[in-house]
Symmetry: C2
Subunit: 341 residues, 2 copies
């Protein structure tokens, strides 16, 4: 990554900092652009508040950044728009400053942070028409392609926070895209695992998974020509769902138009099953895809993971990284399948 | 581990299952002993309830398991007791059944799950006398030593959930100990990192960290003869604190009596600073120590990590494993230090 070495001066106070854990090699972002004073963390009962206004209803009027992408309907109104996050986790900059200290490595938090907003302030993806969800995936791809070759970008994380406990701070449905100068630890684990599996079996692990789920069927939720949705065997959360393509393809950005519609259908069926069966629970979903760091990842397959917020990570999960779930994925899947009948 | 191969029949419904993610190699526990039906996950407004009674005030009367350890005061009343969890994540059993399915690996969830309870139902560790916290550490060690050589135990996780958002379901202060048949992914990352650091620098990474923190002092919160408490450079959470020994020792269970008191003092100072500065926030703390799997881990150092629950993990954190913090560890540390003056 283009880190200016030896500079070692503090970033501008509004810039964020990416620090590396010297033991694990993991990364954290200290987003001082969203800085709070210590007093802001003082524990207090949070009053339940209706938001005063919807900042995404009329993004320009509410002082959002200028659109980088807008899709319009036949009547001229917008149906989807993308603009930079007003409170970005990382900042657009041509180079990263070295902010290392003694034995520790750190650099300024360069990258891109964008918001992808659909028109209707109340209808979540579960309730949209399938073509509207396909449009969202289209926008993901378009912005991915626009950012993936930037000098400071090695990985692009696309994700969506929905509802209670998901961390969403604006109710208007929106996804986010964060392009960062490091490959995330979460993805590195995936990539290393896929590579290890291939070396020991000469098979792509996602091919094995998809073939087994289609045969076993007990964790299956939805299937069409190009995609399959199922509760993974080692689900970390109750009702966790993965949406995986049937064609081997490590790179999300190479999704075809036909696949886009099929993917939208599978994603939406999954979200609808959750919405209907669990009374619109909070969830996060995100795309895991091969990094755009110039390397090839032939044995990986991009996919979507949906994590309902049905449990709190407590001391055991935090300390071990082992999630405790209280329902079998097979039971979750059966319940979710019924919602789609 | 002593997995009975080829048996491949389902565990007893009340037993839990340990499943391995085929891609990452990570583990999850499906704790069917705490089983819920799908309907139990239906999203609803949670009424804020005062607990009806304290199950740990008189553990025998409330139907807890029999004590495995009890410390008494001079007046005969108990000051600390340890008993098996009534709703264990893993179950005591001499062997693990193979519960693999097709390409996926799983086994029954064997191990031990114990609760360590202090006498006073209202006073958290931050408010106890230092000798009482030392007694807690004493009990941790005593139970660790009692379980570490069991055939099904490879790793012992000791942790403490406190207050809002921590996942604690009983208000009476208590810690938990879970002995499991696999080394946790969280610890594996630590161990691999410590080993990698040693190979490339011929220095123990925790020696480097402690030396640098004592020199830089800006992230320091507390120091005594044997321990140091500081906000780590790459803090994952606002006000995260690590308590690390000055003596190199990979194995928590080898803590000396003198060190135990010094450790209690450092842990308590850290918790008191959080309690006082942030109005008794929720937090988790846990011990990271070398596994008891028969191998040596000469370049690791056991320590305590305290994670205040000041933020929600949202889609970005879940998908990337990169935490976003909004305050510099140096600012957190300065604020916490002031609480102890």
């Amino acid at each position: 990554m283009p880190v200016k070495k030896g500079e070692n001066k503090k970033a501008h106070p509004s810039e964020s900092e990416i620090r590396q854990d010297i033991v694990t090699g993991d990364w954290v972002v200290i987003a001082t652009a969203r800085a709070k004073r210590p007093d802001d963390f003082v524990s207090a009962e949070q009053p339940v508040q209706e938001p005063k206004s919807d900042p995404f209803e009329d993004p320009e009027a509410s002082g959002q950044e200028k659109d980088v992408l807008i899709y319009r309907r036949d009547d001229g109104d917008w149906s989807l728009r993308v603009f930079p996050n007003k409170f970005p986790v990382v900042q657009n900059s041509r180079t990263a400053k070295d902010l290392s200290e003694g034995p520790y490595f750190a650099m300024s938090g360069v990258g891109h942070h964008e918001i992808i907003v659909t028109r209707d302030p109340k209808r979540s993806l579960a309730l949209l028409d399938t073509w509207q969800v396909a449009e969202v995936i289209d926008a993901y791809q378009e912005r991915y392609l626009a950012l993936m070759n930037k000098k400071t970008v090695k990985y692009i994380q696309i994700f969506h926070n929905h509802g209670k406990g998901s961390g969403a701070s604006v109710l208007h449905p929106h996804s986010q895209l964060i392009a960062i100068p490091v490959v995330s630890p979460g993805l590195s684990l995936d990539l290393a695992g896929a590579e290890r599996y291939y070396r020991s079996t000469k098979q792509d692990v996602f091919s094995v998974i998809v073939a087994h789920e289609l045969e076993a069927r007990k964790r299956l939720i939805f299937e069409n020509e190009h995609f399959v949705a199922f509760c993974p065997f080692a689900s970390r959360a109750a009702f966790e769902i993965w949406v995986v393509g049937k064609r081997h393809n490590p790179y999300f950005e190479r999704i075809t138009d036909e696949e886009k519609f099929a993917c939208a259908e599978a994603l939406q069926a999954s979200l609808r099953a959750l919405h209907q069966g669990l009374n619109d629970p909070g969830y996060n979903f995100y795309i895991h895809t091969a990094p755009c760091d110039g390397s090839d990842y032939p044995h990986y397959r991009w996919h979507i993971e949906i994590i309902p917020r049905t449990a709190t990570w407590a001391g055991f999960e935090l300390s071990t990284g082992i999630e405790v779930s209280t329902i079998l994925p097979e039971v979750s899947a059966e319940f979710l399948r019924k919602q789609l009948q």
